[in-house]
Symmetry: C2
Subunit: 307 residues, 2 copies
C-alpha cells in the first residue's frame, strides 16, 4: 500500500504575540510522519497560517497539541484583527496529496472533527467537500457575522454546529474543518495594454460564465509592464489541466492577434499538476507518475520501514 | 541545509541462488534514511541489480553489509554468466538526486571507495565522473578481459587498482565505484515506415555525429506498428532538456513531412527533467522546483527531524 500524505494549512487567531506563535508552531516541529513547511504570522490580520504535510495520524496528533496551546492562550472575546474568524483555531483544511482519495480525506476530516471536539470541547463546522449541509461548503456562510455574532446566533437551528452543542467554547469559539482539493494559482500574461482583452478572456475560460468547470479567473492590468493578466485559481487541476487552460487562452487571444508573453505559478503546486502538462506537450505515451524518482521515493517511504 | 539524497544501483554477481539473493537484498530493507526501490535477478546474466535511494551515510552502511554477504557466498572462480564482471560486488554507481552537486558525489564515492576497501579487502577501481585515470571513465576499459584475465593482468601498472594492492581479492575479485549523472531513456516514435528517416534523425541529434552533446541515439524499426523510433539515452538531462531533443527531432522530421506519433520515457526519471519541459511549454517565468509540494517535502524531511 502506498503511503498516505495529507496537506494541512491550519489558521490560528494569533498574529502578534511571538511567544504564543512560537508555542503553537512548536507543536509541529520534529514530529515523525509530519513535516512543517512554513508559517506566516500577520499582525494586521492577527492571524497565524501554518503549512504542514504529513500522514493522517501524526498530523491529527500535532493539531490536537496545537489546539490545546491555542485554547490556553487565545481569548476570542479580546481578539481583534482584519481577517474574518470565529475561533482560536479558526480553520483546518485538509488536502489529499498521495495515497488517498478525496472520499477518504473527507472521512478522515469527519473522524478528526469528532475527535477534536472530544479533546477540546470546541464545536465544529464541516466545510468544503466535508460539508454536511450543502450551503456550508462555503466558508463565508459558516463565518457570517464572525465570532461576535455567532456567539448568539449559534442557538438558531440553521447555525448549529455539526459536532457539539449549540454553544461556542467560552474563549476559543468554534473551528471549521474540511477536506478540499489543492488550489493552483496560475496566471497568464498577455502582450497587450488592452485590459478589456484579459477581462474578456477571463470571462471565456472561467466556470462562472460558462467556461472550464474548475477555473476561477479575472482580468487585471500589470501596471508598468505594459501587459495584462488573466489571473486564475484552478480549483481542480485533475479536471482542468494547466496545458488545457493555457492553450484555450492562447487560441482565444489569437482573435486579436495577441500572444502569451509568459505565465506564472504562484505558491505551491502538486507534482502531478505539472507532470500532466509535461506528458501532454512531450507526447509521452503511457506515462506513470511513479516513474518519477522522487514520487516513487515518497511512495516507498511509508512501506519500506522507518525514514 | 537541504537533505542529501543519492541514487545507487549496485550490481552483484549472483542471479541464480535465491537464498543468496535474498540475503543480499535483506541488507537494504527497513533502513532509516535508505529506501529499497526494487531488485532484479537475471539467471542468464547470473547477476543481481538493486535500486536504492538514500542519504549518503546510511546508504554506505547498507552497501558494506551487503558486501560482507556477497564475499561470504560468491566465489568469482566458480562464477559463470553472460554479463561482463570482475567482482562479487561488481559495480557501485552513485547518482546525486537532491542537495548534492556532482563534485560532492564524486568526493563521497572516493571516500566510500577507501572505506569499502578497508572493510572488505577488495581492491577498487573508480569510473565515470570519479575516474582518477581518464581512460577509466569507461567501465569497459576497467572490465577488459573480465575477472579471469584481470586476475593476472592486475599486476601490470596500467591495470593496477585505484585503491588496494595489485592483487584481486581471492574470491570476490574487484569492485568498480563511481559517480555518474542520471541517464534518461527517451524514445521518439515517428509516423513513417521508413527506417532511414529514424537513422538519419538519430545521426543528426546524437553527440557522436555532431548533434547534442548529451544525447546517444539510434534509429530502430517498431515492427508491427508501422512506425520507426529514434531511441535515445540522454546522459545529462540538465544540458539537453527533453523538450529541446523532441523539438529538434520534430523540425528535422518536417523535412520529409513526417510527424511525431508519440514518445516514451523508459524506466525512472528525475522530477526536474520533466518539470523543466513543463515550465518551457507552459512558459512559466521564474519557476522554482521547490514550489512543487513533493520536492519541498523531500527537501524538508532531512532538516525538520525524524521521518
Amino acid at each position: 500500500m502506498s503511503r498516505r500524505l495529507v496537506e494541512c494549512v491550519p489558521n490560528f487567531s494569533e498574529g502578534r504575540r511571538s511567544e504564543v506563535i512560537e508555542a503553537i508552531v512548536e507543536s509541529f516541529r520534529n514530529r515523525a510522519g509530519c513535516t512543517l513547511f512554513d508559517y506566516r504570522a500577520d499582525p494586521d490580520h492577527n492571524r497565524l497560517v501554518v503549512s504542514l504535510v504529513g500522514e493522517p495520524e501524526p498530523l491529527a496528533e500535532s493539531l490536537l497539541q496545537a489546539a490545546e496551546i491555542a485554547i490556553r492562550h487565545i481569548d476570542m472575546n479580546r481578539h481583534e484583527g482584519a481577517h474574518p474568524r470565529i475561533g482560536a483555531l479558526d480553520v483546518i483544511p485538509f488536502t489529499p496529496v498521495q495515497g488517498m482519495t478525496m472520499e477518504e480525506c473527507v472521512a478522515f476530516s469527519h473522524d478528526f472533527g469528532k475527535c477534536f471536539h472530544e479533546h477540546t470541547g470546541i464545536p465544529v463546522y464541516f466545510y468544503e467537500e466535508s460539508a454536511l449541509r450543502p450551503e456550508r461548503s462555503r466558508l463565508e456562510v459558516i463565518r457570517k457575522g464572525q465570532y461576535e455574532r455567532l456567539k448568539t446566533d449559534v442557538t438558531q437551528a440553521e447555525r448549529a454546529p455539526d459536532v457539539g452543542k449549540s454553544a461556542l467554547h467560552p474563549t476559543a469559539g468554534a473551528t471549521v474543518i474540511g477536506a478540499r482539493k489543492f488550489l493552483v494559482a496560475f496566471n497568464v500574461n498577455l502582450k497587450t495594454h488592452d485590459l478589456s482583452v484579459a477581462k474578456q478572456i477571463a470571462t471565456t475560460v472561467r466556470a462562472s460564465s460558462g467556461g472550464l468547470c474548475a477555473v476561477k479567473g479575472i482580468g487585471v492590468p500589470l501596471e508598468g509592464r505594459g501587459l495584462v493578466q488573466v489571473s486564475m485559481n484552478i480549483v481542480d487541476y485533475e479536471k482542468n489541466a494547466l496545458y488545457r487552460v493555457l492553450e484555450m487562452i492562447r487560441f482565444e487571444a489569437r482573435r486579436w492577434g495577441i500572444e502569451v508573453a509568459e505565465t506564472e505559478i504562484y505558491g505551491m503546486i502538486p507534482a502531478r499538476a505539472l507532470l500532466e502538462s509535461a506528458a501532454y506537450y512531450l507526447q509521452v505515451a503511457g506515462f506513470d507518475p511513479l516513474q518519477v524518482l522522487e514520487l516513487k521515493l515518497l511512495d516507498k517511504m511509508g512501506t519500506e520501514g522507518p525514514e
